[in-house]
């Protein structure tokens, strides 16, 4: 029996100790009419060898294409040691550290993680993780509504430059609590125009969400936006990429007073792409809001002998103590991903992460320069960017991306459904994992595909757009 150690003798002896005739008798409190016989829809079992064969086939079926997609999930080098250590049984098969004395490994690691995230975001405190960036943003919105002492508003300003799926997730999670997301259009420069916010002055908002870099890869004027939020009694929520934070101003230093909450997806810190998960969300905030933060938090303390130790703390915020009055229903979430991220950050280090960020930026610049040499490919926004850029082509994006995929090149993320106003727009990304030959391979395939298609309209090369739509 797979994974069940009992011998026949064991079963007989155990039943005798219980005083039952059969295993079946142990289910005698279940009303007979509820009992099912058999699970016809489940296939018979396979041993590990047979399952391995099946899974190798399935994994091979999906190929190993050359990937230039970003859009919230980024291919980065992960040191081999990260997952070798994270999948050690002592990390992999432990549970949430409720028994602190028997969980000092996980607890100390989480304390180190909180320190790293607080430093990356420039904020005072960090929790021990959330599910992912999108649901983390939803938690940040709920937290801001609770934490804003200057405004009782349940409205939150949500720019169109935030990942469209993130906006959908936030909507799903906050809508039943009567919170309204007020959409803020993007400007022709691909970011939020601080001037444009003037139309909202005099209205009350609990918070303004500020993505940096935003979904288009463009850098937002975070100082002006943060100050605008504070002048208007709203909290500022920074939505950030942790690798970009190695080189960009951290949310805690935005504007005069800094953002109040920072959230984001931790995937770029050691989580493989894995079709979208598991990743993890990170969240940091100013000290004054710590009691409104959702999720686990680890604190350093001492034991009976005065030795340093670590334990879950501020549990009075959480569902297992507060039940209906908890800050969130979240409990255990992405512990192992945070374990990997902490080891990843330790292995790469401060200088390493800065170099990774620079290499991403430099490779994306090289990619843009090469692709825009192709006739009918243009850069849509001229604003500064980090490691993603919007390009426009003269043909339907979906068809071009499919033709590229046939060549095992994943050319980017199709923006035409979410942002029809941008035309045939693609969001592209090149991380540190790409080199000149990769970029050339993409460019040559794209060039051939675009020139082969005779039905495309004649293109006239335009300057990158600036100004308002």
């Amino acid at each position: 029996m797979p994974f069940i150690p009992h011998t026949e003798d064991d079963v007989l002896a155990m039943l005798a100790a219980i005083g039952a005739d059969s295993i079946e008798a142990l289910f005698d409190e279940i009303p007979a009419e509820l009992r099912v016989r058999g699970l016809e829809g489940v296939p018979p079992g396979m041993n590990e060898m047979a399952v391995a064969r099946l899974m190798h086939q399935r994994a091979a079926q999906d190929g190993m294409p050359l990937c230039f997609i970003g859009a919230g999930a980024y291919e980065h080098h992960i040191p081999a040691a990260v997952w070798e250590i994270a999948t050690r049984g002592e990390f992999y098969t432990a549970y949430t550290p409720y028994q602190a004395e028997a969980s000092q490994g996980t607890l100390q690691l989480l304390y180190e993680y909180q320190t790293m995230i607080a430093s990356l975001t420039g904020l005072d405190v960090s929790n021990a993780s959330l599910y992912d960036g999108a649901s983390g943003l939803a938690e940040a919105v709920l937290m801001a509504v609770r934490a804003n002492r200057k405004s009782k508003s349940r409205r939150v300003l949500m720019p169109a430059t935030v990942h469209p799926i993130y906006r959908k997730v936030v909507h799903t999670i906050v809508r039943n609590q009567g919170i309204e997301l007020v959409e803020l259009d993007h400007s022709g420069s691909g970011n939020i125009e601080p001037e444009y916010l003037k139309r909202f002055e005099g209205e009350e908002f609990a918070a303004l969400v500020i993505p940096q870099p935003n979904f288009f890869g463009v850098l937002e004027e975070v100082d002006a936006l943060t100050d605008w939020a504070h002048v208007n009694n709203a909290l500022a929520i920074g939505l950030v990429n942790p690798v970009a934070l190695a080189v960009l101003t951290p949310p805690g230093e935005w504007g005069e007073r800094g953002a109040d909450i920072a959230v984001g997806d931790g995937q770029p810190l050691g989580a493989p792409l894995s079709s979208g998960g598991p990743y993890f969300g990170f969240m940091a905030c100013k000290q004054e809001h710590v009691r409104q933060m959702p999720g686990r938090i680890v604190g350093r303390t001492v034991d009976l002998d005065g030795r340093t130790g670590f334990t879950l703390t501020l549990q009075a915020r959480e569902q297992h103590i507060r039940r209906a009055k908890a800050t969130s229903n979240i409990c255990s979430n992405q512990g192992l991903m945070v374990t990997a991220a902490t080891i990843h950050m330790a292995l790469v280090g401060a200088e390493g992460l800065v170099r990774v960020a620079h290499a991403c930026h430099a490779n994306t610049r090289a990619l843009v320069e090469r692709l825009t040499q192709i006739e009918c490919v243009e850069q849509v926004f001229s604003s500064p960017y980090f490691h993603e850029v919007v390009l426009r082509i003269n043909q339907p994006v979906g068809e071009v991306l499919r033709a590229l995929a046939v060549q095992d090149v994943l050319g980017g993320y199709d923006l035409s459904a979410d942002y029809p106003e941008l035309g045939n727009a693609i969001l592209i990304c090149a991380t540190e994992t790409k080199d000149e030959a990769d970029i050339e391979r993409y460019a040559q395939h794209l060039e051939r595909i675009l020139s082969r298609r005779k039905d495309g309209p004649i293109c006239t090369k335009l300057r990158p757009r600036a100004g308002t739509f």
């Binding site: 002896a13 009303p31 399935r58 002592e90 432990a94 549970y95 998960g277 598991p278 303390t301 992460l353």
Partner: protein
């Protein structure tokens, strides 16, 4: 020692970083960070040694018996891990086109959906919730969407038994509902008369775990379902305890409208020191249109995502992509390995182990909380006698167990039973392990009789003794400062 204390300015792990880069081409100065983040500057060996040593300070299933009630700490097959981490699965971008670069993974996910429908007796499945609590959220949000779609705005209340997990009431509130608690009777069943009195046109639904958190099967479940359905409410099944009934009873047959599963419990995916889990939801006919997206569809030829276009009444999305795919793959691999017969055996041997342990502990003089009832996959003993006579509490027993190399059972939950240990051995533990645990429990009681300080001062053999939780909360130290 913290990793930061191993750090030395200028030390670089060059094997893991790109070479020196041209700085800031095109990023204007006003966007740039001026101070380096506080990340460790250590060698690869320093980091590997540090985190390997930290791992050794943990208890885990791979190193200890871990009978943590309600958490189903069964063996996590290594094969599930290594096969889910094949390079093809790890490298796949979530937005890679599914026609050309995704049929392999989607086939696994589709088949997992089908198997989960079968074991629960439900009609539709969405794998996207990333944890049990998110599955709960999805379930209650669907109940709300169902009532709203029928124009029934009067239903403002969710019923929750007083024995329920704390996530149940917290979830109901996140979905905009008020919570009404339903009491439990002396035998551990829901007080059906109190339930009858509580339901009405304001009832949106009830959240139930069966077997309940008290470790007993809710015998009047059909009656409960009838009462709630007649009042116009729906029934939500918290899958926390599905391991007890896998292959024996389907929640669909009990009358539930929506179920969430904890794949990190029943389907043996790792607990990871606190996640990631996976909390898929399965529903009956009435809630089909409201399932969260995306789901995997199959037309006999090709697998594809079903999203807002195909499911316009969906409650929407819960994650940036499609949930914790890597965890779903582990559950799929486990399900394929144990197969149909193996799934039926899960509940059988989990129940055998729990009843055996309960009988042996009773024989050793410990008091089961519900001695007249069968144990399911878990059971409660109450140490209220020991606390009164010997001055040692459930917490003391728990801490002393750690000294003997056993992870403690769940303590002080459910809240209804004083000085309780909720014990869940799971099906993957041998009789020898269970016997050893019972022996140690008896030994701890002896110690408590002869030298209680040994027990009340435990643990003595771990990296730290009992920690000062009050100091931790009062003098918050959440971040290391140089």
């Amino acid at each position: 020692m913290l990793i930061f204390e191993h750090s030395k300015p200028g030390r670089l792990n060059a094997a893991q970083t790109p070479g020196p880069q041209p700085a800031y081409d095109g990023i204007p100065e006003r966007f740039r960070r001026t101070r380096r983040p506080l990340l460790p500057e250590v060698s690869e060996l320093d980091a590997v040694r540090h985190y390997t040593r930290l791992s050794q300070k943990n208890f885990s299933i791979d190193t200890q018996f871990y009978p943590l009630g309600s958490c189903t700490m069964k063996y996590n097959p290594r094969g599930s891990n290594s096969l889910a981490m094949l390079p093809g699965f790890l490298a796949r971008h979530p937005h890679a086109p599914i026609e050309s670069h995704g049929q392999g993974v989607l086939a696994c996910l589709f088949e997992l959906q089908e198997m989960l429908k079968e074991v629960t007796g439900m009609k539709g499945c969405s794998l996207t919730p990333m944890a049990g609590a998110q599955g709960e959220f999805a379930g209650v949000a669907m109940i709300r969407a169902y009532h709203e779609a029928r124009g029934d705005g009067a239903r403002t209340e969710i019923l929750v038994p007083d024995a329920a997990h704390g996530t149940n009431p917290a979830t109901a509130v996140m979905c905009g509902y008020q919570v009404r608690e339903i009491p439990t009777d002396a035998n551990g069943d829901v007080d059906v008369e109190a339930l009858q009195a509580a339901v009405g046109p304001h009832t949106a639904g009830i959240m139930l775990t069966n077997p309940s958190t008290l470790g007993v099967f809710e015998r009047r479940i059909k009656e409960i379902a009838g009462i709630v359905h007649r009042a116009g409410g729906l029934l939500y099944y918290d899958g926390a305890n599905l391991n007890a009934i896998l292959g024996k009873v389907k929640p669909g047959a009990m009358g539930f409208d929506v179920v969430h599963l904890n794949l990190h419990k029943t389907f043996s995916t790792p607990h990871g020191g606190g996640g990631p889990g996976a909390g898929p939801v399965v529903v009956g006919e009435r809630l089909l249109p409201f399932l969260p997206v995306p789901m995997v569809g199959y037309d006999g030829d090709e697998y594809r995502w079903l999203d807002e276009k195909e499911c316009p009444q969906s409650i929407g999305r819960l994650s940036a992509h499609s949930g914790n795919t890597g965890i779903l793959l582990r559950a799929y691999i486990y399900a394929r390995m144990i197969g149909r017969a193996g799934m039926e055996r899960v509940a059988e041997y989990a129940t055998l182990n729990a009843n055996y342990m309960m009988a042996q502990l009773k024989a050793a003089g410990f008091a089961p909380a519900f001695p007249a009832r069968r144990a399911t996959h878990e059971f409660i003993i109450t140490l209220k006698q020991e606390a009164k006579e010997l001055g040692v509490t459930a917490r003391d027993f728990a801490k002393r167990l750690l000294d003997y190399g056993f992870h403690a059972p769940t303590t002080y939950f459910p809240l209804l039973v004083s000085e309780c240990l909720l014990i869940e051995p799971t099906e993957t533990e041998s009789r020898e392990t269970l016997d050893a645990f019972v022996e140690v429990m008896a030994k701890i009681r002896e110690e408590a009789q002869q030298n209680p300080a040994v027990v009340t001062g435990a643990p003595h053999t771990l990296p730290v003794k009992r920690l000062d939780d009050v100091k931790a909360a009062r003098e918050l130290d959440l971040v290391w400062k140089d």
